[in-house]
Symmetry: C2
Subunit: 355 residues, 2 copies
């Protein structure tokens, strides 16, 4: 056994006071990740505050280069700018960074990993591994199962995304708008360009020149990278809905070979971390309210896609907690993977290390 | 001019106390439909009550066969069972029925009409004309424009449907659940099988054996009938979201010939009743909150579908008030069409009538 495995680990969470960061700390504890020290790091504004966690108090320190001395694993969820600046500083100091921002996801040489789908991609990391976008995360394990069994021709996914994906401020904004509604006052919007309460906003992130939003582009590009299908035909409309937690997705997949819903349910059931909830006649199907706080990806409403009468297609409905599997849980799973396979130091260090 | 045109009309609304029925009465008045008498009809339970309408009081009478004596046009929105029983009784008495339930929509010989799309289908009516489902209504004028210009290969539509489509009780249920949330109480559900507040329910209407919901089946079958494309490849996932009024739809269309977004916007702009709202960079796109209370169909987020790289496809976002264009306004437009073209009496009566 290499020495690294037996040494107690120091784990840092950057953006520890944010919606995803707090969930990362919680998931590390829940899943009993073997850390000896846990460092909560955040912006200078939040540094000095204290987090209540599992009955314990955790002091928040400033996320600056020196804070990564002695860190083995750093989970980042503090936005692309912070990751762009600090992740390389952490890697220089010997940490492996698992980054939840979009900053490094499409960078050649940076593995973009969903452990159930492309764990082996993590082997060759050079200190930096990217965590996919939440909308992509809950989709790719199901697409991978179909890719392997019957091949993928074309995928359409329309999202129903929760406000917690935007962060604490968006959660507070929906809450404030709902309170205003009950009190008979007009809704005020500042996080989103329009009221989100009792509305459906066809905008998640900013728009690109081709009319797609960045969120839609992320789903397309990241799915292609994770699935190793660089030319996969995929389209997406990303929509924010007045839901606090858990994203839902309506998915329509055109497959290369025919597949029936029973076979698809079998395939999905076999994917680790996926739960099939599919008894529509009994009103049992995945729901955002049920998925919130859970680590699984829930799939249901599996049916032959009616627009593909030769059986080469499926429609289904996927729901997952965007803060957990969609972000924090997947990041922790990547850390667990690195530990289990002894991939924690970057590949080049492992290569130079005495056997 | 035939005598009928000059005679003042008697118009009945069946289901006058329901969400759509009340809107029908309102739209008849707003659009100055030339009635001499307006009869508000409803179930025995509601008969005897009074409606406030445009500052006037309207007594509600019981919807029974004799109530249709002397009626020229009857707009029905009281559910399939009532339409099945009473619509033929009204027609026997000389009324033309425009029915908003699903009871007669797919019946051969019953025209299913969206005036902007297939007005001529109304010519051959035999006393009964069906008003399409709300989700279908806002979709088909846009599909018809694409069908005529570039041909339709395949359509995917995922819906974000408002609770008012279910009726007053569902509106009250969402309101009560939101009030409970603000007060810190749990949500109680009875109209829907699960809480609708802060949730997305992938169920609209009941489920069929093939896994599709009846709502999804309606969108498929009714679109095919209205568009005169009985084999159109169309799939749909119908989802209820916590929005009070106006349905939104994410649409992905594969076309026979290539089409670019600018041309599509031109085509959509030329459709009567359609408003293109499409400046995403300025956060201008169709929104349920903006469409509520309006008669138009709003379309935006028009872009080349990324899953069809040869330009033979579009993605877009459609929003319309489900109670107005999605139900009441279209029904009144059908009545206006019959009047304007002198199609008010059934075809067989017109044929037998002295010239």
């Amino acid at each position: 056994m290499p020495e690294r495995r037996s040494r107690p680990l120091t784990v840092a969470v950057v953006g520890a006071t944010g919606a995803v960061g707090r969930t990362m700390l919680q998931v590390l504890i829940e899943r009993e990740f073997p850390f000896a020290e846990l460092r909560a790091l955040a912006s200078p504004r939040s540094a000095g505050s204290t987090l209540e966690l599992d009955g314990q108090r955790l002091a928040v320190a400033e996320a600056r280069p020196a804070a990564f001395e002695g860190v083995d694993v750093a989970l980042f969820s503090a936005g692309g700018a912070v990751s762009g600046e600090l992740a390389p500083r952490a890697v220089e100091r010997g940490a492996v960074v698992i980054d939840n921002s979009s900053r490094w996801r499409m960078e050649p040489g940076v593995p973009l990993v969903v452990p159930e789908v492309n764990a082996d991609d993590a082997a060759d990391h050079e200190g930096l591994i990217a965590n996919p976008n939440c909308s992509t995360m809950q989709l790719v394990p199901l697409l991978a199962a179909l890719r392997d069994a019957v091949g993928l021709e074309r995928v359409i996914v329309d999202t129903y995304q929760a406000v917690s994906g935007t962060g604490h401020k968006a959660v507070a904004e929906l809450q404030a708008q709902v309170e205003a509604h009950v009190a008979g006052r007009p809704a005020e919007a500042s996080v989103y360009p329009h009221p989100i309460a009792f509305n459906a906003l066809p905008q998640v992130d900013v728009f690109l020149d081709d009319g797609y939003s960045r969120e839609e582009r992320k789903v397309i590009d990241e799915s292609r990278k994770i699935l190793h299908l660089p030319a996969l035909r995929l389209s997406c409309t990303a929509v924010r809905v007045p839901v606090f937690t858990a994203h839902s997705e309506a998915v329509h997949v055109e497959t290369r070979e025919p597949i029936d819903p029973d076979r698809a349910r079998e395939l999905f059931t076999a994917v680790p971390g996926v739960l099939v909830v599919d008894e529509p006649a009994a009103a049992r199907y995945p729901l955002a309210r049920d998925a919130a706080g859970r680590d699984e990806i829930f799939v249901g409403r599996v049916r032959q896609d009616a627009s593909l009468p030769d059986g080469r297609g499926l429609a289904f409905w996927v729901v997952s907690d965007n803060l957990r599997k969609g972000a924090a849980t997947n990041a922790v799973q990547i850390a667990e993977l690195l530990l289990a396979r002894d991939w924690l130091p970057p590949a080049w260090r492992r290569a130079g290390r005495p056997a």
